[in-house]
Structure formats: structure tokens, C-alpha cells
């Protein structure tokens, strides 16, 4: 009987411990399957709910922030684009309070600023492309093997080089490195960020 109680308590505590992971896994699955604004909103809300309970975890806020960046690029109304980027930035900032100097969070921040530039490059280029480069460079400096940071940095520097007629070679090499890392490097855990490979592959076409 003792054994039974022990086993039960163990199972219960394990089950309890993984409630977070299970919820995250389900959320991540929904996130990668989402296509419409409404689907992304559902999943962003879900991560926000998890975040409201798990105040020591940065990943729920990371994913909510990521979902909002995608929503910003999906929405066609300029004002909504800004609204979603603001929501995303709020989540990223809160996550960075929990986990400062995290390469993944910095990469996401760089991504956020990158989308901000794309809404109105003429007037936002100066401020936000600078902020984006800054965050992405820092992300790479912290983890030189973060494929997402490398891919985003490649994308930013490619755009700049292309506009000014400079060489895009360096950017394409960086992309190549990120693609290799997407192949070889396993995410730190089942719930660690793993997106970006398809986007990077999409950019490969321009580099060839």
C-alpha cells in the first residue's frame, strides 16, 4: 500500500510538473498550425494565460510575443500592425525581465523592430533598423549558434546591402550558416524555440 501511495504521489507530482510543459507543447503545436489572425489570437491568448500563472517562465511570453509579430505581418491595416507589435514588445519586455540577455528573446526583439521598419521604411528606417541590428547583433554575440538570430540578421543586412548596392555575399554566408544550424542543432528542449527554418529556406532562393 505504501508503495502504491508513493507511486501515486510521484505520478501526481510528475503530472503536475509537466502540466506546464503539456500546456506549452499544445500551445506550440497550435502556434505552428495557425494560419488566420483569429487562430494566432487564440494561441497568443493561451500563452498569455500560461504566463499569468507561470511568472518565472519566459517562454510563454516569448511565444505570445512571437504570435503577435506574425499577426502584425498578417494584418493589412497599418494601425493594427503597430498595435500587434506593441503587444508583442510588451511580452518580450516582460520576458526579458525574467530572463535578461537571452539570445532567443533578443532575436525576437530584432524581428519585432524589423517588421516595424517594413510598415513605413522611409520614416522608421533610421530608428528601428538601428534597433533591430543592435538586438540581432547582441543575440548572435550571446549565442553564435542561434539559427534564428543568424537568419534574421542575414535578412536585415541583405536588405541594407541590396539597397545600397553593396555586396550581399556576407549576408548569404550567414544565411548558409543558419541553415546548417537549423539542420544540425537540436532545440534545447521540446518547448524551446524551433521556428524559422522555412523562412530561412525561403530566403535561400534570393541568395542563389
Amino acid at each position: 500500500m505504501k508503495t502504491l501511495v508513493f507511486v501515486f504521489v510521484m505520478t501526481a507530482s510528475l503530472a503536475f510538473g509537466s502540466e506546464y510543459e503539456e500546456a506549452m507543447k499544445a500551445g506550440i503545436k497550435d502556434l505552428y498550425a495557425a494560419r488566420s489572425l483569429n487562430e494566432y489570437q487564440q494561441v497568443a491568448s493561451k500563452f498569455e494565460r500560461i504566463a499569468s500563472v507561470e511568472s518565472a517562465q519566459w517562454l510563454p511570453r516569448y511565444y505570445a510575443g512571437y504570435a503577435y509579430v506574425i499577426m502584425s505581418s498578417l494584418d493589412s491595416v497599418a494601425e493594427n500592425k503597430d498595435k500587434y507589435l506593441d503587444l508583442s514588445k510588451q511580452q518580450i519586455d516582460k520576458a526579458a525581465e525574467i530572463e535578461p540577455n537571452n539570445s532567443e528573446l533578443l532575436a525576437l526583439e530584432g524581428f519585432n523592430h524589423m517588421i516595424r521598419v517594413s510598415i513605413d521604411p522611409g520614416s522608421r528606417g533610421q530608428e528601428y533598423s538601428g534597433l533591430s541590428m543592435q538586438a540581432l547583433n547582441k543575440a548572435v554575440a550571446i549565442d553564435s549558434e542561434n539559427p534564428r538570430a543568424l537568419y534574421l540578421l542575414a535578412r536585415m543586412s541583405y536588405g541594407t546591402a541590396q539597397f545600397f548596392g553593396g555586396s550581399t555575399e556576407e549576408s548569404c554566408q550567414m544565411l548558409e550558416k543558419s541553415l546548417q544550424l537549423f539542420e544540425t542543432k537540436q532545440p534545447a528542449s521540446e518547448i524551446a524555440p524551433a521556428w524559422g527554418k522555412n523562412q530561412a529556406l525561403g530566403m535561400k532562393n534570393i541568395c542563389q
Partner: protein, 721 residues
Amino acid sequence: MLRQFTYLSCLLLSLGAFSQSTITGTVRDEAEEVIIGANVYIKGSYDGASSNLDGNYSFTTSKVGKQVLVISFIGYRQQEVEVDIEGDLSYDFVLVEAINKIDGITITAGAFDSGGERKRTILKPLDIVTTAGATADIASALNTLPGTQTVGESGRLFVRGGEGRETKTFIDGLEVMSFYGPAAPNTPTRSRFLPFMFSGTSFSTGGYSAEYGQALSSALILTTKEKPDQDRADISIMSVGGDVSYSKVWERSSLSGKLQYTNISPYFKIISQDLDWVEAPSAIEGSFMARQKVGKNGMYKLFVNLNSSNLVLNRGDIDDPSLITRTGVANDYIHINNSYKNILGKRWGVQGGISATRNNDNLSLNSDAIQTVQEGVHAKVVFTNDATEKLTLKFGSESFLRKAEEEIEGFGLPSRTNITWNEQVLGSFVEADYWFSNKLVVRAGGRLEYSSLPSSYNLAPRISLGYKTTDNSQLSLAYGRFQQTPGDQLLRINQNLGSEKAEHFIASYQVINNGRTFRIEGYAKQYEDLVKFDPGNQFDPAAYNNNGDGHARGFDVFWRDSQTFRNVDYWISYSFLDTERNYRDYPFAATPTFTSKHNFSWVYKHFITKIKSQIGFTYSFASPRPYNDLNGVGFNTGRTRNYQDLSFNISYLFKSNIIFYSSVSNVLGRDNIFGYEYGQVRNNDGQFNRRAITQPAPRFLFLGIFITLTKGNQASQLPYL
């Protein structure tokens, strides 16, 4: 027994884990419209859902008993309700809109704001730099906005029938004395500060906040950048000189410095000038900025600007051109600006600082000389309090001390003469912004000012409101009273003159939609207590009084479109002005010489990706200005020809960090006349000789190369175009 109990409770627990309740409901707003995407959940759990496209939500939970159901959605107040879960539950929410103080309705009457570029701004800081004909001068660029008057021989901002001195400039809330650099008589001046320094520009053509005083017509409110983006060095090589600057950025602080030398003489040697220059204008300038974050939200800024300039030219006498007056203008300037702002707790904000200015002007006319030294200290503190969701209070106090000293040598005076006068202005203001809804905001407040010249108190009420007519359009109204100490050329004779006063009434309608802006604004301005004097006795203090008055009324129209044509941004301004004054030496009410009835400008910017260049032009038109024709009948009855200018500029992005820039003013070479100067005595025909006040040269050509150096040369200069 104990074992069995444990077993049983474990069993119950595990059973409990499987008893699920479904929570459902609908989310609507007060207008019964469904809300999509609201997050409904049980507090302290993961259990929840977002409302779908029909506004419905549904989720299952294993929680039982008393729980708190939370709903949150951006733009609406969060709600929490206590529910008792004993099975399936249905709960419908009605969300109440939250007041959005930042992105909701704002007061726009009279103001052209350019805060962060994400707000609905009309003119961005970058626009100033890229306006043709402005050559990066803040005042020149703002002169393409409605409500301003083209006064070509001055270069200052003349707003809605006001003189140049009726516009005051504030940097980080603190007044800047001598905002404009020195210039030869009847030639345009430039503002001392470069637009790159500022992240925000708010140009108010009337009806502005009670926070600002001592300006009858207009306030130009500039906010310095929070921090430079990155470590960078900049080098500029220009046809008029060059500069180097460097910025170093740390995690919580930054330092920037700049050194500039300009000398126009090489340019004047190549391109002939209408003026007889002995020493072409030259200047050396240094500026320095330090920023330090304080705590989590605080920021301290120190800004220092030092400038020394010199110019000498020969001017012939109107009656006898062989009589030459050697005119020298030398100026030394220092401005120090300390500002601090922070957030105190959840609801309070504080902003304040101290600025000090010393301006030393040396004017020499042959052997006669006037030296004017002005020293001023401005101290100010402002508190803001978000008292409730709908109410924001702002109040503060300031002290402005000023000393002016004039030393006159020559002019037939037996000995050196000194005139000194001191001025103290103490001001306090309180202002409340109240949002009745996200559609209607009212700002009401007042300003109490004590002025020592002469000792007097003035109360200036201000009120304005904004009403959103549709999502993209709004109506604004503003009323206010304003006062200002008379100018130094009057105070040097009589220091017992009272403040001059103005009253503004403004109504405006504005639509901003998808890259297009339309605004029309009507105004009426009443001047009272303007200083008058008897021109026959202009050195006698007793000949001065505050009995003058005047009015200005008109309307301004603005249209900007950056949407219709790809890579093209243009704006058109038109101002109509009807004004008369009976002041200074005027014998009766007359239209002042610095005003014109119609002002029009068209600014066009086109980025051509193929050649990586931005081209731009500015066309300005001003209808004839009055001048006092000594040979004619009446007062101020003469009319100049109309003013026209077409300026052109091009910026070429050679590399991401190198820009070539060129601009030409008055491409068509039109001979613009701003007025006439008259001789002292009648000539043989019984007429006074006259000389036209014109441009110093038909055109001004500017060439420059701007180089930015950063780590890895990643700086994109693009927006500096």
C-alpha cells in the same frame, strides 16, 4: 484505517481531476457589437479561451467552487467576476471601453506635432532636413507650414500676423534665449540648433498650453533625443565649412560632442554677391550632450552649445553711395541646458530643469559701437498626475531671470554710456485634461505670471477641446490669453512698460487617413496693450505708453499626401491673413510691413530608387507686403511686388554611410523685394531716395558630403536624406 483513508482520498483526488465543467458565453461591447479575441480565463489557472469570430467563448476546466473569471482585451477595461463552478456555467460579458490617453483623441488646435513617428503626426523631424530651400534650418522648414509668413530678410518665424519675437522656442521645456544666430542687417538668420538633435518638434501657431508663457503668438517646443542609437562618428564636408561629431553609447548613458567651423568666404569668392563683404560670415561652434538614465525610468540630460561668429560688410549710404559704413557683427553665445524627468510611483511624473544663456552681440558702425550682453537663467519644474482614468493634471512653476546690459560708444555721445535692465518673471500654471470619452477631451487651465517690469500680475486662462467626428477626423477649438514683456529695443528706453497681451480664438478641422492629411483652421487674434510711442520723441521715456492694439484673423489650409504617388511625399500650405495694428510709431491702425495677405508653399519630395537619390523642390509664394512709402500718400500704403521662390535639392546615397547633398535656392533667380529703406532728406526732385531690401544674392548653392562611421559601417543614413 489511515491507509484506507489515504487511498480513498487519493482516489477522490484523481476522480476530481477528471470532473470537467464547461464555461461558455458571449463577449460584446456596450453597443452590443461582438468582440473577437477577448481572453477569458479562470484566475490562477491555464483554463480559458479567446472569443471567436461570433464573440463566443467556451472552455473546460477542472476547477470547482468559488473562482474568479477574468476577461481582458486591449482597449477595454479588464473585468473580474466571482463565479461558483458546480458544473457547466454560462456567463456573458459586456466590455467597457478604456480611455486611451495616449493614442486616443488629442488636442490639435493650433499645433503641428511631431512626436515619435508612430503618432498621427503632420511633420516629422526628418522632414525638416529634407525640405528643399530649408538647408536643415528648423525655422525655414517650419515656414512651409500654414500660419507662417515669409519674411525673407529676417529668417525668423512670423506667425499669424505676429512679429518674429512673438514666437518663443523651448528645448526640453526650457526657454532658449537668442534661438537665432546673428546676421547682417536685412539678411536672413538661421536657427542655432540642428534638427538632428531633436526627436520631437511641436510647432504651435496659437492656443497652446498654459505651461508656456511669454510668447504672444507661437511656441516652438523641441525635445532632444533620448539617446543616440549607437557609437558613431560623423564627418561633414560642406561648401560652407565642415564638422566632426562623435557619440559614445553605454548601457545607461551616452556622450556626444560636435565641433563645427563654417566660413562662407571661399564660396563668396566664386559666386558673386550683391553685398560688399569685408569679412564673410564665419563661425566656430561646439556642442556637447550627456545623457544618464536615473533609476528605471528617469533621465538626466545636459546640453551645452557654444558659438562664436563674426562678419563685416560695407554698406553705402542711401543718399550718398560713396559714404560707406563699415558694419561689423560679432557674437558669442553659450547655452547650457540641464533637464531631468522621472516617473514617481504609478501616477506621478516630474520634469524640470535649469537653463542658462549668455549672448554677447557686438555691433560696430565705423567707429561707433554697441555691445549688448544678455544673460538669462530659466528654472522650471512640472508635475503630471494621472489622477483617474479620465483625468490628467499638470502643474508647475518657473522662474525666469534676465539681465541686459548695453554699452554704447560713439554716436556723438560725449562718453561711453551704459544702460542696464533686469527682468524677473515668475509663472505658475495648472492644467487639467479630462476625457469625457474616447471621442471628447477638454483641457482647461490657467497661468499666473508675475513680471517685475513693471511689477505686475497677469492671469492667463487657456481652454481647448478635441472632438473626434469619425475614426480619422476631428474638430478642435481653443481659446487663450497670452502676454509678453515688450522687446528690448523698447525696454532700453522705458523699463516701466506693461506686458503686451493677445487673445486667441481657434477652430480647426482635421482628417488624417492612410498617409493623407487635410487640415483647415480659422483663427482670430486680438492684441491689447501694445506699446506705442511718438516717433518724434523716440528717446524720451515719457513718449511711450501701452495704448496700442491690433487684430489678426484668417485661415490656414494644409494638405499632405505621401500615399497617392509611389515614393512621393508632398505638402501644400495656404494661409490667408487679414491684420492691422496701431502700435510702435504707427500714426493709426495699419497693416504691418512684415505681413502678407496670402502665403502659399508647395513642398515636394521624390525618392528615386534607381538612382538611390531623393530629389525635392519647394515653391513659395507670398502676396505683396506693405511698406511705408515716404514719397507716397498715407502710412504703410506702398506694396512690394509679390515674393516667389523655387528651391531644389538632391541627396544621393553613394553608400550606406556616405551621402552627397546639393541644394539651390531661388533657381529661377527672381529678384525678390522685401521692402524699402529711405534716405534722410529729400533730393532735388523733392523725393526721398530709396533702396530696395533684397536677397543678399540671387541664389544660394550648397554642396555637402556627409560620412558616418560606425562599427561595421552598419549605420543606415537613409532617413537622414
